[in-house]
Structure formats: structure tokens, C-alpha cells
């Protein structure tokens, strides 16, 4: 069958199971767009800004486990994809991005809307391709999806010159692919798994650190089996949240900069860390030399480059988390660790981070807890980056895996709008709450139009403190309270703004109104927005200062006139 390059893209997307693509057309990608009507099985969602097409593909991918697809034109269209591609790269999210490029003969001549897209995206994609003939396109598309979704997933970009989109060639889409230079290791080394089981047997104070890799590989049941059999408490990193049911007795929550204090102290005392699908990010470890000083480390990851990158590892196991955990759970001996679990309980009692301060005001933590209760912990929660993200991570109690979508590695403000839209379109069976800050929301709120156009029932909870809250917090805690460029004095009226877009909205200024507003938003058939006017100067605690050890952790607000207590 002979097809044009543009037709090949559409046909390949359908073959790969893609039912939705987010994008925005322009001259250099127009031939591809003009073929879309021939493929009614492929739904295209027209966004207002390419960045949000990328975030939508990301949210779709995280929420469904499928590959997200976004499309943009050359030049500014492609450069607008830089942030979402970098976001997906840092968080290992499978995306295939398709960009238009100027015609082959014009490449390198600074043509209108020409940029070196493959050059620009080289360090922020798992791989990318500039396709110079339609004949190469079927194999390239197959390879792109294969690379994006296998191994440690990541974004892949295909740059398509305009005249390749119109060029005809034979379309013979391969069913399978073998790449000589890309073969992720899936099975863990049997000897290493035995050694890990021995370390677990000999440990008195072991901890599991579960990261995004557990969710990506779908290893939740295996993780739970290992934790229960060997009685190892599970700490979940920011992206590992929801890998265990947070109501489980062995679930401890998040560690690190804004993690629970008892978790950081538990890591400090642990004699063994079993790290699974996580990469010892600096937000987890703080100062490396003071991190887990008494612990041996078993590190399980599908990406060999992560093992030994940031901390010394006693037993490295390269492989897929599901398979390795399955093997490890069979290998370990059942154990009882009453003393260790009691010690952690004591730490929790001594360092009650979950406690929020007494206040008649509208505390953001309280809003998150009400949201958690109202949704019974099983909504899909999407956040931006900053204080609201940390409060959501801390206070929403997730009972279902994979329901937590946040930009962890790159820390992309504004992620919460496009990603929530993509997640809601991918999972129409779920309630999707976007917990947003007033800062990030204003970066990408133009997509409210797309959300209304496509009747996407996303619910927005803006924790509005009229600040870039985490910046303000850093300035107050560590910069003598000198606030530079962290306050907004002219924020729009978000309720009127939502109204202008045709989004149902209400404002909450008091505690007593919270639950009713949430219930109303959920009862509303369609997108909704609640503007929560929260305490503007509330801080996120605990707070381990960047690059410091757990001993420097600030655990709560200072008594009147004093520094925050330790």
C-alpha cells in the first residue's frame, strides 16, 4: 500500500493504539493535518499552546499507561514543546512528539520557522529522528513507539520535513522490531537477587524506597508481597506516591525535603535500603554524605546508569521492577520486625509532621484533606509545582495506584492544566482533580478554552495565596524575610475568568464552605473551578534546607518571634 508521509503517521498511530493526539497546526505540519479527516478513529484535540499539547500527552500517558502523542509545527511550535519534553524526560513518561520541519531543500538555510529541532531536543528526549524520506517513515515510527514505551520510558521526537509528509512510499508497518543497539535488561541477575534476599534477612531496620518505576512497571502487587512477607515498611518518593495503598499499615509516605520527619529519621537509622525504581534525587537525599549513614543499599532499576550514580550501592540489580520484585519476594524469608516497626511508630509520635497548626483560617492542608475525603482517595490528582504540590503529596491519601500525576524531576509549573486535561480524556471513568497554585495556573490557563470545547470534566482546586508560595517561603526562612518578586498584587478574579471561559466556578474563603464547594464542583456535569483563598503565609513543613542533612530539618512554624523549631 502506497501512502503519503502524512498518511503513514496517522496509520501508524492507529496501529500503535493511539486514539487521541494533542496538537496545534502550522505551515510545516499542514500536510499531515490535512490527512486527519481520512482517519476518523484518530481524535485530534486542538490546544491553545503547544506546551499544553505536550503536557496533555504526558498526563494522558501517566493516567493510562499508554504512549501520549502530541503534534506541533516547525520553529516556535517545536520550541514550545521543549518544556513538556524535558518534563517527560525527567519523569520517564512515554511520549511521541511529531513536529513539522521546513522542506528538505530548505533545511540549513534559516528558512521561515526553521529551527534545529532534533538538535534542540537532543538532551531532553530519549531519542529523536529527522526523517529525510517517506520510505524510512514506517520503520522509524515503529521504532519511536518501541523506544518510548519500553525500558525506562521517555519522550521520542520525530521531525518531519513538509515535503516528506507529501512524499509517497510503500507503507509496510512492521509488527515487531529488534534493535541491535537497544535491548533493555528485564530479568534481574539471579545471584544478585539472592544476595539482596540475604541482606534483607540479616537486616534489623530495613526500608523500601519505592519510586515511579514501581508504577511504570505495574509492580504494585509484587511490592506489597515483598513488604508484607519480609515486614519492610515502604517509603514512597514524590513520584512513587500511590504505589502502595496509603492506608496500608506498612505505608509510611514521602521522604526528603518536604517528606514526613519520621521517614527522614527512619532512613537515618535504617541498616538497609531496598530502593526500587527510584534514583536518589537530591530532594530525597539532601546532603549525600549524611544520607542513610548506616545503611547498605540494594538498588533495583531498569536503567543501569541510575545504579551507582548518586550513592554507593551494595547490591545492584538491573531489571524490570515487576520481575525483580516478584523474584525477590519469592526469595526472601518471612520475617517479624516488631521492634523496628515500633521504633518507627515512636518516631512518628515524636515528629508528628502530619499535624497541622490550629487556625480558624482557611489552611491549604485542610482543603487537600477535605478533597481526599470527598473523593475517598480515589480521584486522579494532578498538580503543578510548589507549595500546593507538596501539600497535595502530603495530605491526599491515595488508595489507588497511578492516580497521582505531578511534575517531579523538572518541577514544571503550569503542568497541572494540560496534564489534567490529558488525564481526564484518557480516563473518562475517573474524577480528575487538578490541584493548582495561582502562579502555575496562570502560566497555562489558556487551555480552559480547550477543556470547554471538548467538554473535559476536569475539576480545578486553586490554592490561591497570591504568591509564588514556595519562593516566598524560601525567602522568609533562609533569606531574612526579604521578599523579592514572590508576591502577586494583581491576580485576576479566577471565578470571573472561569465564567468567561464557560467553566462553572466558585470562591471559598472560609473553612466551613470547603466541603460544600467540593461536592458542588463534583456534582456539576463538566469542568469546574474552585478558587480557595488560603492563608497566604502558610509554610510547607517539614523543610530540609537544600543540600543539608536531616539534622537541619525544620519541622514546624516558629513560636511567635522565634526561628522555626527543629
Amino acid at each position: 500500500m502506497r501512502l503519503t508521509g502524512g498518511q503513514m503517521v496517522c496509520a501508524a498511530l492507529l496501529r500503535e493504539g493511539v486514539d487521541i493526539a494533542f496538537g496545534l497546526p502550522g505551515g510545516a505540519i499542514l500536510p499531515l493535518y490535512q490527512t486527519l479527516p481520512e482517519y476518523p478513529g484518530l481524535r485530534h484535540v486542538l490546544v491553545r499552546h503547544e506546551q499544553n499539547a505536550g503536557h496533555a500527552a504526558d498526563g494522558y500517558a501517566r493516567a493510562t499507561g499508554k504512549v501520549g502523542v502530541c503534534i506541533a509545527t516547525s520553529g516556535p511550535g517545536a520550541t514550545n514543546l521543549v518544556t513538556p519534553l524535558a518534563t517527560a524526560m525527567m519523569d520517564s513518561v512515554p511520549i511521541v512528539a511529531i513536529t513539522g520541519q521546513v522542506p528538505r531543500a530548505a533545511i540549513g538555510r534559516d528558512a521561515f520557522q526553521e529551527t534545529d529541532t532534533t538538535g534542540i531536543t537532543l538532551p531532553i528526549t530519549k531519542h529523536n529522528y529527522l526523517v529525510m524520506s517517506a520510505a524510512e517513515l514506517p520503520a522509524t515510527l515503529k521504532e519511536a513507539f518501541h523506544v518510548a514505551r519500553t525500558g525506562r520510558p521517555g519522550p521520542v521526537l520525530i521531525d518531519l520535513p513538509r515535503d516528506v509528509q507529501t512524499e509517497r512510499a510503500e507503507f509496510d508497518y512492521p509488527d515487531d522490531i529488534r534493535m541491535r543497539s537497544y535491548r533493555p535488561t528485564l530479568e534481574g541477575h539471579a545471584q544478585m537477587i539472592k544476595r539482596a534476599a540475604r541482606l534483607i534477612r540479616d537486616a534489623e531496620r530495613p526500608l523500601i524506597l519505592a519510586g515511579h518505576g514501581v508504577l511504570i512497571s505495574g509492580a504494585m502487587a509484587e511490592l506489597r508481597e515483598l513488604a508484607e512477607k519480609a515486614q519492610i515498611p515502604v517509603i514512597t518518593t514524590l513520584l512513587g506516591i500511590s504505589a502502595v495503598n496509603e492506608d496500608h499499615v506498612l505505608s509510611l509516605g514521602m521522604p526528603g525535603m518536604h517528606g514526613w520527619a519520621h521517614n527522614n529519621w527512619a532512613i537515618d537509622r535504617a541498616d538497609l535500603l531496598v530502593a526500587v525504581g527510584m534514583r536518589f534525587d537530591d530532594r530525597v537525599t539532601g546532603r549525600i554524605s549524611s544520607f542513610a549513614p548506616n545503611a547498605k543499599v540494594v538498588h533495583i532499576d531498569i536503567d543501569p546508569a541510575e545504579v551507582g550514580k548518586n550513592i554507593r550501592v551494595t547490591v545492584p540489580i538491573v531489571g524490570d521492577a515487576k520481575r525483580v520484585l516478584h523474584a525477590l519476594a519469592r526469595e526472601v524469608e518471612p520475617a517479624v520486625r516488631t521492634e523496628w516497626l515500633q521504633e518507627i511508630d515512636r518516631l512518628r509520635d515524636e515528629h508528628p509532621s502530619y499535624r497541622i497548626r490550629e487556625s480558624d483560617g482557611l489552611l491549604p492542608q485542610y482543603v487537600v484533606r477535605e478533597l481526599s475525603d470527598a473523593t475517598e482517595g480515589n480521584a486522579i490528582v494532578v498538580t503543578g509545582v510548589g507549595q500546593h504540590q507538596m501539600w497535595a503529596a502530603q495530605h491526599y491519601r491515595f488508595t489507588e495506584p497511578g492516580a497521582w500525576l505531578t511534575s517531579g524531576g523538572l518541577g514544571t509549573m503550569g503542568f497541572e492544566v494540560g496534564a489534567a486535561m490529558g488525564a481526564a480524556m484518557g480516563r473518562p471513568d475517573k474524577t480528575v482533580w487538578s490541584i493548582a497554585g495561582d502562579g502555575g495556573f496562570q502560566m497555562t490557563m489558556a487551555e480552559l478554552a480547550t477543556i470547554v470545547e471538548n467538554r473535559v470534566p476536569v475539576k480545578f482546586a486553586i490554592l490561591n495565596n497570591n504568591h509564588l508560595g514556595l519562593v516566598r517561603q524560601l525567602q522568609d526562612l533562609f533569606n531574612d524575610g526579604v521578599r523579592v518578586a514572590s508576591g502577586y498584587s494583581g491576580n485576576p478574579d479566577f471565578v470571573k475568568l472561569a465564567d468567561a471561559y464557560g467553566v462553572w466556578a466558585t470562591r471559598v474563603t472560609e473553612r466551613g464552605q470547603v466541603r460544600q464547594a467540593i461536592d458542588d464542583a463534583m456534582a456539576h456535569d463538566g469542568p469546574a473551578l474552585i478558587d480557595f483563598m488560603v492563608e497566604p503565609e502558610e509554610n510547607v513543613y517539614p523543610h530540609v534546607p537544600a543540600g543539608e542533612s536531616v539534622a537541619e530539618m525544620l519541622e514546624g512554624p516558629a513560636p511567635e518571634g522565634e526561628r522555626a523549631w527543629r
Partner: protein, 189 residues
């Protein structure tokens, strides 16, 4: 003659797909991860469609292991070998243009002969000398030629191969071996 490994310098070879942009991918990786390479040579390998790169990397075990693992992550990279510990021969080729007068030409030729270097171009004012060997040999020849006035130097950088019948890198470093020298990052942004 095997080149002595200078302080902290290691030889790594990589077999890569011969595709557009592969050099940019490798060079970009070294730059953004802060790896210090003093030498990079690319050329065709024995297999059609594959090129072989030779790097000389400055760093300890941790750095070399990271270089190898990060290189492996590039989709175009087929194989990476740290051959520093193997019994290898390493060579580079240098072209040296040295000023020559009728008075000193004979002396220069004599120096070249001692190093078994070839004279490949002669003109009224200069000679081009071609030499092959380890870095130290090339350095030594250069030292001796400097007084005459070295106009231009072109060095290819190190290429290396294992001695004997076995393929280079067949005792290849396991990418997942235990790391003994992870960095102690005191400063985290």
C-alpha cells in the same frame, strides 16, 4: 608499544551506528554530564554501518563507569568497552610542519630518521613530517623539532586495539557492576 596510562586517563571504545548526528549525541552527552575527554577519534569499523569511536577520558572508576553507562543509554550506541586494563596497543598519527632552511634541513631529517618518522612533503621553506606512535613518542619528537620552528601540528588522537586474536573489549566491563567510588556531592543546588 603500549601507551602508559597517564594519571587518571582511561581509554574507552564505543561501537556506534553510522548515522547522522551520532557524533553530536556523543559530544553533547559528554558536555552536559561534565565528563572530561581529552581525545575523541571516529572512523569506520570492520562492520558496514558501524563506526568505532575511541575516547580518552580523564577520571576515576566512577567517571569511567558513568561514561560507559550513559553512552549505553544512547540508542545509536551498540557497545562500550573500557579497555584501559586490557593489554592494548595504542597509536596516534601526527603531521608536523617544521620550518627548514638549506642549513638545518639535514639535521631535521636526521631527527626524523631517529624516530622512524617519514618526510612526506618538502618545500623550500618547510618540511612535513609524519609520525606514528604513542603520545609520548610524538611529544618527544615535537620537543626536538621545536627549536627549528614548528609551523603547524595535526594530531589524530589515540586509537587503540587489544593485542592477540581476541576482539578489543572482549573482557568488557559489566555496566552493572558495583560502584566503589560514587561521588560525595556536598553541594546540591
Amino acid at each position: 608499544m603500549a601507551v602508559a596510562q597517564s594519571n587518571g586517563s582511561r581509554t574507552i571504545t564505543a561501537l556506534v551506528h553510522d548515522r547522522p548526528g551520532v557524533l553530536a549525541r556523543v559530544a553533547g552527552l559528554f558536555r552536559r554530564r561534565g565528563f572530561n575527554i581529552s581525545n575523541l577519534v571516529v572512523g569506520h569499523s570492520e562492520s558496514p554501518g558501524l563506526s568505532r569511536m575511541t575516547f580518552v577520558v580523564e577520571g576515576d572508576n566512577y567517571v569511567v563507569e558513568q561514561v560507559a553507562k550513559q553512552l549505553y543509554k544512547l540508542i545509536d550506541v551498540v557497545r562500550v568497552n573500557d579497555i584501559s586494563a586490557e593489554n592494548i596497543v595504542a597509536r596516534e598519527l601526527a603531521l608536523i610542519k617544521v620550518a627548514a632552511t638549506p642549513q638545518n634541513r639535514a639535521a631535521i631529517l636526521e631527527t626524523a630518521a631517529i624516530f622512524r618518522a617519514n618526510v612526506i612533503d618538502v618545500s623550500p621553506g618547510a618540511l612535513i613530517i609524519e609520525t606514528t606512535g604513542g603520545e609520548d613518542k610524538v611529544d618527544a619528537l615535537l620537543q626536538l623539532l621545536k627549536p627549528y620552528g614548528v609551523r603547524e601540528i595535526m594530531r589524530t588522537g589515540r586509537v587503540a586495539m587489544a593485542r592477540g586474536a581476541a576482539a578489543t573489549g572482549s573482557g568488557r566491563a559489566e555496566p552493572q557492576r558495583t560502584d566503589k567510588s560514587a561521588p560525595d556531592t556536598e553541594v546540591v543546588p
